[in-house]
């Protein structure tokens, strides 16, 4: 049962770098970044309605900002779309592939179609893994207390993302 002592130094240097990198992505600990994600202010939940699998009106009448949306799309603590989708953003490395690449999405889908897919994809495919970023919180279950009654993103953030995604042509 005797073994050489192993210190963290004896880990393969490349490996520990990779591990540290992955830690950023998938920490076993509650990550501070998650706390910074509390929905903006005490915003009301804006009801929305869909027609022909699209939401044509902006949420709460907010005006989206594409530059902010671009940032949100790969901000780990916010949209984190990069976890599942490839995006045309050079800084955002190692995209996931659970969802289709969003490159060219503005060409494939109208603004209203994009909005519904970001707001609540389960309206289209009830079994999708794509999170509903503005799904009615009443439809969620077993939600951790601090997130209860809240949407994943605020109406403004959704509009920022939509404004960004329509530019992807």
């Amino acid at each position: 049962m005797l073994r050489y002592p192993v210190t963290s130094k004896s880990l393969h240097p490349g490996l520990s770098f990779f591990a540290a990198l992955l830690w950023l992505v998938n920490s076993g600990q509650p990550v501070p970044a998650a706390d910074a994600t509390l929905p903006a202010a005490d915003e009301p939940y804006y009801e929305w309605s869909m027609e022909n699998l699209s939401i044509t009106k902006s949420l709460g009448g907010k005006q989206g900002d594409a530059m902010r949306g671009r940032k949100l799309s790969w901000d780990r603590g916010k949209g984190n779309c990069i976890a599942c989708h490839a995006l045309p953003i050079p800084e955002a490395e190692f995209p996931g592939d659970l969802g289709p690449p969003l490159i060219g999405v503005g060409q494939r889908l109208t603004e209203g179609q994009i909005r519904l897919r970001v707001v609540d994809s389960k309206q289209i495919n009830p079994l999708t893994i794509m999170p509903g970023y503005y799904r009615d919180p009443k439809l969620l279950q077993f939600v951790k207390k601090m997130y209860r009654g809240k949407t994943l993103l605020s109406a403004q953030e959704i509009e920022d993302l939509v404004a960004y995604l329509v530019t992807l042509r």
Binding site: V6, A34, N125, P126, L127
Partner: protein, 256 residues
């Protein structure tokens, strides 16, 4: 248009589910490990999980409150433990009429036979003991019972695994059944098997117990999570361990 949508929906949802259900072959998380991590896992001298195995061995041979040690009943270094029996945990406990995990068995022995005060479920000591004991069966094939009195508990565990939860509104099965092999950012999704547990995680640089891994995933879904040792987690462990029937025990594995 309506029929087209219905068809499409069926194709997207029911078909993958059906084909998966028919052809499920359990695969260890090791299949998706990088080569470096795999080498680390296979080398007792490089695998940090073996520190915990050694710590568990010390505790196994240490005397409890009443002067006895685990070794009194199970031989020095666990020599007389029934290895085949270890592959069958969680087992049905006739006393409580519930499933009992390997760690549950360790807690019961510690209190009943060593006279110790209760340890916390997933305390460092309990994890070390569990890691040591399961490591004795490394390479043995998992063989958990799914019928008989355990059947309803397996079903409960399965239901837990398949229920959407949290603000992310995802089920465990979304990632660990429907998207196995896909990438969540840089992380490749595995089947969520338990054959390597307790396992050393590079992500947090320590040995992680089964119920800790459950709450880590639930935390990421922004879902409520259970206390280690809770019935829901025991049932989930039972279901997931039985889902890995046929896999070799790899404790202590190395994982991200």
């Amino acid at each position: 248009m309506k029929t087209l949508r219905a068809l499409l929906l069926f194709a997207m949802t029911a078909l993958p589910a059906l084909s998966l259900a028919q052809s499920f072959t359990p695969k260890s998380g090791t299949e998706w490990l990088s080569e470096e991590a795999r080498e680390m896992q296979d080398d007792e001298f490089a695998n940090p999980g073996y520190f915990t195995v050694d710590r568990g061995l010390e505790l196994f041979n240490a005397t409890g409150t009443n002067g006895k040690s685990c070794a009194n009943c199970h031989g020095a270094d666990g020599e007389t433990l029934d290895i085949a029996r270890l592959t069958r945990f969680p087992v049905f406990d006739p006393l409580t009429q519930k499933p009992m995990t390997l760690q549950g068995r360790i807690h019961a022995c510690s209190q009943q036979h060593l006279g110790n005060a209760p340890m916390k479920y997933d305390s460092k000591q309990a994890i070390a003991l569990e890691t040591f004991v399961r490591n004795l069966a490394r390479g043995e094939i998992i063989d958990v019972e799914t019928d008989g009195p355990l059947a309803p508990f397996v079903q409960k565990g399965k239901a837990y695994f398949e229920a959407r939860r949290g603000q992310m509104d995802m089920a465990c099965s979304d990632c660990h059944v429907n998207y196995v092999g896909s990438r969540l950012r840089a992380q490749v999704l595995s089947q969520g098997q338990l054959n390597g547990y307790p396992t050393y995680r590079l992500a947090n640089q320590r040995v992680n117990a089964i119920h800790q891994r459950f709450s880590q995933c639930e935390n990421r879904l922004r879902a409520t999570f259970q206390k280690a040792g809770a019935d829901d987690y025991v049932n989930l462990e039972l279901y997931l361990m039985s889902r890995g029937n046929g896999l070799p025990i790899e404790t202590p594995a190395v994982r991200f």
